[in-house]
Symmetry: D2
Subunit: 432 residues, 4 copies
Amino acid sequence: MQRNRFLGDMLSTLFDRTIKMRGTDDKRDIFKLCDALLSAEGEVSGLKLAATVLDRYRELDREEKTAFFAYMNDAFDIDAAAVSRLAADYATAPTTQGFKDLSKAAEPKRQELLRRLNQPAGATADLVAMRVDLIDILRDHPELARTNHDFVHLLRSWFNRGFLVLKAINWDTPARILDKIVAYEAVHQINDWDDLRRRLYPPDRRCFAFFHPAMPDEPLIFVEVALTKEIPDSVTKLLSEGRTPLEGDDAKVAVFYSISNCQKGLTGISFGNLLIKQVVSELSLAFPQLQDFVTLSPIPGLNRWLATQTEDEDHGYIATAILEHRAEPRDIEAMAARYLLTAKREDGMPVDPVARFHLGNGAEVYDIHAQADISPNGLAQSSGAMVNYLYDLTLTEQHHEEFALKSIVKAAKPAKSLSTAPLSPKPKDPTS
Amino acid sequence: MQRNRFLGDMLSTLFDRTIKMRGTDDKRDIFKLCDALLSAEGEVSGLKLAATVLDRYRELDREEKTAFFAYMNDAFDIDAAAVSRLAADYATAPTTQGFKDLSKAAEPKRQELLRRLNQPAGATADLVAMRVDLIDILRDHPELARTNHDFVHLLRSWFNRGFLVLKAINWDTPARILDKIVAYEAVHQINDWDDLRRRLYPPDRRCFAFFHPAMPDEPLIFVEVALTKEIPDSVTKLLSEGRTPLEGDDAKVAVFYSISNCQKGLTGISFGNLLIKQVVSELSLAFPQLQDFVTLSPIPGLNRWLATQTEDEDHGYIATAILEHRAEPRDIEAMAARYLLTAKREDGMPVDPVARFHLGNGAEVYDIHAQADISPNGLAQSSGAMVNYLYDLTLTEQHHEEFALKSIVKAAKPAKSLSTAPLSPKPKDPTS
Amino acid sequence: MQRNRFLGDMLSTLFDRTIKMRGTDDKRDIFKLCDALLSAEGEVSGLKLAATVLDRYRELDREEKTAFFAYMNDAFDIDAAAVSRLAADYATAPTTQGFKDLSKAAEPKRQELLRRLNQPAGATADLVAMRVDLIDILRDHPELARTNHDFVHLLRSWFNRGFLVLKAINWDTPARILDKIVAYEAVHQINDWDDLRRRLYPPDRRCFAFFHPAMPDEPLIFVEVALTKEIPDSVTKLLSEGRTPLEGDDAKVAVFYSISNCQKGLTGISFGNLLIKQVVSELSLAFPQLQDFVTLSPIPGLNRWLATQTEDEDHGYIATAILEHRAEPRDIEAMAARYLLTAKREDGMPVDPVARFHLGNGAEVYDIHAQADISPNGLAQSSGAMVNYLYDLTLTEQHHEEFALKSIVKAAKPAKSLSTAPLSPKPKDPTS
Amino acid sequence: MQRNRFLGDMLSTLFDRTIKMRGTDDKRDIFKLCDALLSAEGEVSGLKLAATVLDRYRELDREEKTAFFAYMNDAFDIDAAAVSRLAADYATAPTTQGFKDLSKAAEPKRQELLRRLNQPAGATADLVAMRVDLIDILRDHPELARTNHDFVHLLRSWFNRGFLVLKAINWDTPARILDKIVAYEAVHQINDWDDLRRRLYPPDRRCFAFFHPAMPDEPLIFVEVALTKEIPDSVTKLLSEGRTPLEGDDAKVAVFYSISNCQKGLTGISFGNLLIKQVVSELSLAFPQLQDFVTLSPIPGLNRWLATQTEDEDHGYIATAILEHRAEPRDIEAMAARYLLTAKREDGMPVDPVARFHLGNGAEVYDIHAQADISPNGLAQSSGAMVNYLYDLTLTEQHHEEFALKSIVKAAKPAKSLSTAPLSPKPKDPTS
């Protein structure tokens, strides 16, 4: 315990430095500053130079930022001809020096630039914010993809799983962090602090987030968990205000009902898989009596898919009925099961993005519920249907393999039964 | 303040994970495990696989480790022919896909292997320890330099300055860390806890270390500081037991009398420059009345150099006298000043390695003292002479530039005077 | 710093214990349990017995609580005859044993009972809550004043200033504590978390609270501070939403605009004086450029007093005009100054309770402002007028002495001028 | 967890204040200062006055301290005649005011003085140190026992069990605290840090201490624990250097082999009972497989008692043999068992002080071992014999009752058997 405090002390120092490091009023333009940072000059004065570049960047408008990224993309690209030559040499005579020269030449100089920009305290958050801009600008400037590729390469290395820190978010968390939770919740909106309190305070609610030591004020991703007696069939009920909270020790099921990525600047670097598994481990330890770990997940692509099925001979009339909100719950569930288990993209992967995420993590489709999310959004995307994915940590690796290599979608009995359940008969044509 | 606590909490979690992550009893050999870790299989089961590889590695003997590094070096090297071809393609048509393909091909697969090995909690310390082995094996297997080069590349990125945490080391530091300080002190040996207490407890003593969040129990580098009234001329006096401690507020000078690198596995990644400057900042803040920041440094190359000067017409007799420990203090100082200010390598840099370090940081040679370190080691390497380097943060950048670009050695008046001071006259030949 | 962490660790343990200590299901009634706790039996099983009494007490209804206090009051009172006898003996022969016997007899046994009840972790909060009940019951049962007197005696000893801990309350404070701040704010109501954020988050706002280590979740008292450029004349402006926050370093004045006692159970034990002075010290240290420390305080007794002055020959017409909200600001200020500086109780002390508090702390009446608090409450109690009390720590002791011993009300020039300023002339009788 | 940090933060503030509060250079003598502190003057300026008295006290020599205590004893005693009169009044007419007057008169004013002295940060440690002086002076000035009685009364209230904090002491504890552990160890001396490391670092060693929030650097009492496979029969073996440490999870027995009170100034206020029980609880939670909680305790009174038995007809020859270190182990154990189980004081309590402590806590005598402590001290006091007392938390209350009320000494089978075991026959008179 004491030991941990020492660690704590460390980070607090980190934080202090975060506050203090500011750039100088060096008058050169940002391009010259970047050149200087990459030059020998950078070695000693690197910290201040980097801080100055970051200060300067923050003041740029969109057009200037585009120019900045274009400079990174072009001026700090590789010299492909040189790389080709050095590689040929190395192929012929694989010497150590040849290897070093090739390595140096083959890495775009902007990677070293980014590493040097990352030196001042607090810089990591700046670079993540820079990537947010880049992603935005990329839509109009696809040629910047090279620079984006290098950003991802470095951010993935820095946000390595081994550096992430899991934190319980609860009513003892500082307001500063809670503000972020409210802002970043992406699935079921948090309206105000009373709403937040309902998600964090009761004994049957938990929330966990990943943080990175270099961005201590910023959650990277968080998951909200409800402890329940049974696998839930409705998020509306799960989040209802009047609910009597369960004591944690009475719970049998842990429900992951909301997972939110917080950092747009880390797009392409995935934390969700690890987060879910680590939270399963933590909860198993704290509540050994827990039997099931499930999600209560949206089916965002259902209605979009149904719209493509209205002409289908077998179930077109049901698809239409669902889209027109006049279908039986049973039929919604059956069609949703068919969708999740059989609707595939060209590459053989499920059409549904949330399904791809959880199945890719090694979960299985467990059960489907109509009228589970009757919010406007829930009705629009899936006519109110939701799905439970089940995480059984003893099986996730095997499931993952089969899914990744053979595109096999694992489903439990309830979901399977639904997917083959007979649909309501086509009504007689009322006009005939 | 409260905010920092939150950070602290984060790291404590990190630490807990450090303890828990252990590998499985996967029966495959370490080569197969590495292959698996690099394959698609790795995505989900990566953490466990990586932990297993690290567990397995720890049990290898030297020969097996050599084989392991050889496998990294050869099996996970680049395909130079492919790189050459892809680079040529990209030179012709610089497409995004071409760039990505080239980037991927040009990075040795062992880099990705190392990144994946770094995923489990606590893995960073394992990789640093692995590099210690590699450095050792490298002497007999210079062909492994490629692998070493990739280790350095990644460690430099992970041990980026922005991730380092400065910590005061004092009598409130956990014993676990203090044990490390005793073990790692490289300049003036710490004999026991009473000796350690004399370095940390008195109000005129300070110690600071850098840590990395992923290796919270391991200092990376530390510096010991004495607060004094005057620039000191003897480390023996500075560390004497009987000394009456000064109150911090009465100090005028901060003396860096010992800097120790702790991690052999991080050889080639330099922290000393940053540490000294950050400690100067911290001390300036805490004790605004401080006027000078100096070192009291060894001159490790002095006697070695003097041994090459014994035949010199002008000062050979003095060099001999110094080496025979029968020279006047004044002459020792004069010759040491000549050595530090004028003895150069072929590349124009000073011969003395400690001088290169401090001058490279932008310090200047301030003053030189004979009889400053009369320990056996001090007498052997420099006949007891030591030197003060002076850090003036308003000048370090300029000094650094001039030193780096033009090899100019900056010296203050006392050192300059010594370097031109007349030497004692050559004694009459007693045999004549 | 490290040192502090160790302390921190201590308290965290305290907290864990707080959670765990629960009573047993001993079937005896609460009176018997109290008897047992006071008996020799208590020595070993005391903790559990005490926890059981506290558990049992919480389940009592008001009538049963009254009986419980009556039992404390009567069964555990002193044996006055014995005390008288022992005191007479001691007066004659002042032996050590005589002193001990007398001491023991003269202390009501309920004091020892309360001390023993205070042994389990978390018990202190229970006893403070018990006192809340007692204060309530006391109104109908004045005979319980003896028990109340002993409660105060012990609570004052336990909540000794030396045990109190000053804490900054800000946006990094846990939500759990912030909830309490919202609930306890007594002067200017906090409506919701957005309102709270406006009080805590901006750089020109501060809040400080006292805590006791044995009740770590409960603030005892807190003060809200605004940093401003000038001594403020309106709390409405001070708290306005649109305000541009000042940087702390630009502030010249620290304004204590709200002080709230949180624990009704600690009524009679005063923390405000110490809190203000300690906060003045902390702020002086953090912002050395601060020149004035003032309050912006309500004048709760003004209108009540004016109502007694309507028949006054000199200023009755003004009093009436103020009460009817048709007076000139200038007249309101002048009359408020007269009230604060001259309206006295029979004992010579000022009529106004807030004035008594601040003058008793050694502050002086500095200035008075009409239209400073135009909330319904502000208009009702003082027709919108507020007052600045000034804290000059170099003078508070002297002021306090003169106030305490000679009832001298210190006032600065602005207040003094107002108190002697000519009032608006009496309007001609409109009916004549 | 987060919550605890908040508490931590609190105490760290406390600590900061500890450092800062210093007295003034008020020129009055310490008696006048005490008078002032007790007067109305004290109300506002109390903190500074108290700090000044404490500063001044520290500079007194022994004679002056004696005078200081004499002043407390006489000038601030009760007015017994007044108490007698007020008590008589209250006996006649038990009014609230009468009660208050009596309460006030019956409490020596020095109690209020001590409470006021306790107000500045850090004062509690000063008062505990003051009591150390008082205890010393008391031997020559028994009349000061009244003052001592009041010290104990207040210290007992302030060091209430509910305020104590249990802390694990281990290799992550700050060196500052470990220094104290070395200094205060009273049973088995700790020679140096290597020795300390052997007590704290191995996985089968634990140490716990009580702290008080107002004296965070000072342990009050600590216990050292060894985790073993079997109930140990020798402290020499238990502490041997060469020992292979056990993994905590393999332990079956927790052995309390050393308990040390640290604060002489808290003599008369007992923490050991609570400490042992709380540590039993903590260890049970951490290592559910633990079966027995025993001490390995000295028998300090054995040889002293044996010396009174040398003339005894039945076992005098054995007593003599033991004292002359020529007895069989078996006989030593048998006689030690007789001593512990049957040697009583006049009041029926065991002669042995350590036995009284553990039996009073509700432990039982479990087993006795000769040659268990062969240190000079162990041989001198008990000819090397030691005893295991067994703590079974389900029985301690019952045992305590029977011991406290009926002086019944509980013993387990091994100890009972030893106490009735036949002794070696008396050797034939060798001279005959």
